[in-house]
């Protein structure tokens, strides 16, 4: 196989454009990497004059979206995870501007790749507009007076982000030594080559030399290195366990007295075990051979405010998981009651189990007003209320809930015997 990586005949650039000089230096640099085959090289480019260089390469090439090359190359580098492959990104200052975040991310993770930013200080392909890297005083088509402030210092930013190697050079003469050095870096290397676009840069800044433009703006050559760190390789091919392993799947151990279905709302506050009680209730129902659905709702800040759970228990398979008619609401705190109030007020039948501390709402449902927060503490208010509901409604044995409790994490904190005793006392104290 020929060892030519990049044909520098008939380059698609204007005459005198720095891109041509860079291409010739790059071919020399690649030639010097021992053992590197063109098919060990993946070149990633995107939109901009430099982007159309991909057709000159004998290597693998990817031509993507404006400014996204470094992100795409990051995926390739992590996907191949092969230190014998070289990932090379060729972009311009426009691409570096819109894709700045991708460069910082790759530098920070020390992704194995070399990025050459061809910084001609403007967007060449689209008519010479200024980019994020345009230096102070440089005139462009849409800023004919020159940029009033300085562009970003890409090399220092990449260095601060953690790039193993970042270097700014002037694209003058033969820069193959620099490119070779960058290509040999294990990890993330970036070369910012400051160039002049002969079509727009020269036209809007007549008579100014590249070194003067860059020098006046402090855009001088620099080499910044971070201590050698190994290139980032994600943990691949993890041996993982089936997601079915360990899912709760209680055996059918109990019978039930349910005909049709019941729809239940547990309405409490964060920290009262509303969601875990709803899950225990559901698991208990499964252990009685019933079908069940459960959904939770709570504010986006999950640790405060209301916590609502909807549970449907049915003798038949449940398709639609919404609740049309509510059979029971278990309101154990003010936040929960407030949240569920419109639905409670709309109830014409069913039961509302209400903590003794809460005001009685207007409703057509039966009200069961008891102290649910007291006997076992507020953290178990929801659980006690659910147990009381089972005991009163008799839809399935309370033992099923105790079984679910003992299998759960909450089971360690709550004593089943105490729970039963509290429910019995509640019944005795009944209206």
């Amino acid at each position: 196989m020929s060892r030519s990586f990049l044909s520098t005949e008939n380059l698609p650039f204007c005459s005198g454009c720095g891109h041509g000089l860079m291409a010739r230096s790059l071919e020399k640099a690649l030639q010097r990497i021992e053992g590197l085959n063109p098919l060990d090289l993946v070149v990633v480019t995107d939109i901009g004059c430099i982007g159309i260089i991909d057709k000159q390469f004998a290597s693998h090439t990817v031509h993507g979206l404006h400014g996204r090359s470094v992100a795409m190359a990051t995926g390739i580098s992590m996907g191949l995870a092969d230190p014998d492959k070289k990932i090379l990104v060729l972009i311009g200052d426009g691409g570096a501007t819109i894709g700045l975040h991708h460069i910082m991310e790759a530098a920070h993770r020390n992704i194995d790749m070399t990025v050459i930013v061809h910084n001609n200080m403007l967007y060449g392909m689209t008519g010479g507009q200024p980019s994020g890297l345009t230096p102070c005083g440089f005139r462009t088509s849409t800023m004919p007076e020159g940029r009033p402030d300085n562009g970003m210092d890409l090399c220092r930013m990449a260095h601060a982000a953690g790039a193993a190697y970042s270097r700014r050079i002037m694209a003058l003469g033969d820069v193959s030594d620099v490119l070779e050095e960058a290509l040999r870096v294990k990890g993330f290397s970036l070369v910012e080559a400051v160039e002049l676009c002969t079509s727009y840069g020269v036209k809007f800044n007549p008579g100014r030399k590249l070194t003067d433009i860059a020098g006046d703006a402090g855009m001088t050559p620099v080499l910044l290195k971070n201590p050698e760190a190994s290139a980032f390789r994600p943990e691949a091919d993890r041996d993982t366990e089936s997601l079915f392993h360990g899912v709760p799947a209680p055996e059918k151990r109990f019978g039930h007295n349910l005909a049709g279905k019941v729809s239940i709302i547990l309405a409490g506050a964060a920290g009262e075990g509303v969601q875990s009680t709803a899950e225990m209730l559901a698991l208990a129902a499964i252990s009685c051979g019933l079908s069940v659905t459960k959904k939770g709702s709570y504010p986006v800040t999950v640790g405060v405010g209301f916590s609502l759970a909807e549970v449907i228990i049915s003798t038949k398979e449940i398709h639609y998981t919404g609740i049309a008619g509510i059979d029971a609401v278990m309101a154990t705190s003010r936040e929960g009651l407030q949240r569920a109030l419109p639905r409670i007020e709309a109830m014409k039948s069913g039961s509302v189990y209400l903590d003794a501390s809460l005001d009685r709402p207007e409703t057509g449902a039966e009200l069961v007003h008891r102290d649910y927060r007291g006997p076992l503490g507020y953290r178990s208010a929801s659980l006690l209320c659910a147990a009381h509901y089972l005991s009163r409604s008799g839809i399935f044995p309370i033992e099923a809930l105790l079984e679910a409790l003992s299998a759960s994490r909450a089971g360690r904190a709550v004593d089943a015997a105490e729970l039963l005793k509290a429910v019995e006392e509640m019944e005795r104290a009944g209206v």
Binding site: A58, H63, L65, M78, G79, H101, F244, S291
Partner: protein, 370 residues
């Protein structure tokens, strides 16, 4: 461990991720967004490789890089994330890179209500590609589908060499249910065919089925080139040569001419003048409504669509046999109804629509009995 035959208490997210991995998905690239976070959480336990991306543009670019390197990527997002991904999804489609994007719909516009389900992204998905090239979109209608269609999505993406959407909604991926795991059909790794010819390898030279054989970048046998710009079979950029235009047209026909392989829907002919049409999360209400109506002596036929894009011809063909067609979907204007019947609809076609809540069986029944 749940034994077969035992009823487990699980959600649709778990089924989707388990099936995707069993079908051969290898990398999950995640960016947090409600209501797709459970999918990310399960993926972090189950995928052979999991990466946290810094944003959704990066997500899709990393995925494209993985895919180009021959590793199958998956992500899960919702509209705000999808909006950032769209340019890159178009890129992956143009480059012909297999991947699966799980889209969990929530109520919009904009950030809308993150914790409220919806089926409001159909109009967007329909025209997501500039040029109108459809991206294959599968939509689970129940727990069985969450498993089966997730595996099918991986298989389809590899088969057609393109991104595939698995379209879902908050209630489908987050609601916990009793579910008999023994119902699950076995999932085996999807076949992966790589180009094995002697070369030269033309990355976009397709066979009669319109799908070009795949090779990853980095292989030592043949040069591989991917491009997002209009290109010829060798991936060379071209403005609009006949060969390049043929390639662009092929991208459309490859998903449409092979649609028969992935036209997935349930159809129950209940000898009625009325067809009830639904999909996704609303399909459950439609099924329940159809059963209730049958019990009341007013049977309706039922079509639950699972392949939403490209639109299978069977849907209009079937609808054409009915005087009345009722399309139930959780959005304001009847987006899929419009896809099927156009802006002006058709006589006898009506919708059951709503936002901010699931469509209920009772609403559907009322529309049928109206």
């Amino acid at each position: 461990m749940a034994e077969p035959g035992k009823t487990a208490f699980i959600d649709g997210s778990r089924l989707m991720i388990e099936a995707a991995v069993r079908a051969g998905a290898e990398v999950f690239v995640g960016y947090p967004i409600t209501p797709a976070n459970l999918l990310y959480a399960y993926s972090s336990r189950r995928f052979p490789m999991v990466l946290p991306a810094p944003d959704e543009i990066t997500t899709l670019q990393w995925m494209s890089g993985f895919s180009a390197a021959g590793r199958f990527p998956v992500t899960a997002t919702s509209y705000p994330g999808l909006a950032l991904m769209i340019e890159s999804i178009g890129m992956a489609f143009m480059m012909e890179l297999p991947m699966v994007i799980i889209l969990v719909q929530r109520m919009g516009p904009a950030t809308g209500t993150a914790t409220c389900g919806a089926q409001g992204d159909l109009a967007l998905l329909r025209g997501i590609n500039s040029g109108g090239h459809p991206i294959p979109t599968l939509c689970p209608s129940d727990m069985d589908d969450c498993y089966t269609l997730s595996a099918r999505a991986v298989e389809l993406a590899l088969r057609l060499r393109c991104p595939v959407f698995l379209l879902s909604s908050k209630e489908m991926v987050m609601t916990l249910r009793s579910y008999d795991l023994s119902r699950l059909a076995p999932v085996t790794p999807a076949p992966r065919e790589h180009y094995r010819g002697d070369g030269p390898y033309l990355p976009y030279a397709a066979g009669p089925d319109g799908v070009p054989p795949f090779l990853p970048v980095g292989n030592r046998e043949h040069q591989v080139r991917f491009t997002a710009s209009t290109h010829e079979r060798n991936a060379g950029l071209q403005h609009s040569t006949p060969e390049a235009l043929e390639n662009t047209k092929r991208l459309r026909t490859k998903t449409e001419s092979n649609l028969g392989e992935y036209t997935l829907y349930d159809y129950e002919d209940r000898r009625s003048d009325t067809l009830l049409f639904s999909f996704g999360i609303t399909a459950a209400a439609a099924r329940e409504a159809a059963d209730n109506l049958a019990r009341r002596g007013r049977p309706v036929s039922l079509l639950v669509a699972k392949t939403l894009f490209p639109v299978p011809g069977e849907y209009l063909e079937t609808a054409g046999r009915y005087g009345r067609v009722i399309v139930a979907e959780e959005n304001q204007s009847g987006q899929y109804r419009e896809v099927l019947f156009g802006r002006n609809g058709r006589e006898g076609v009506s919708g059951v629509n709503g936002i901010g809540r699931m469509i209920s069986p009772a609403e559907i029944e009322r529309e049928v009995e109206r």
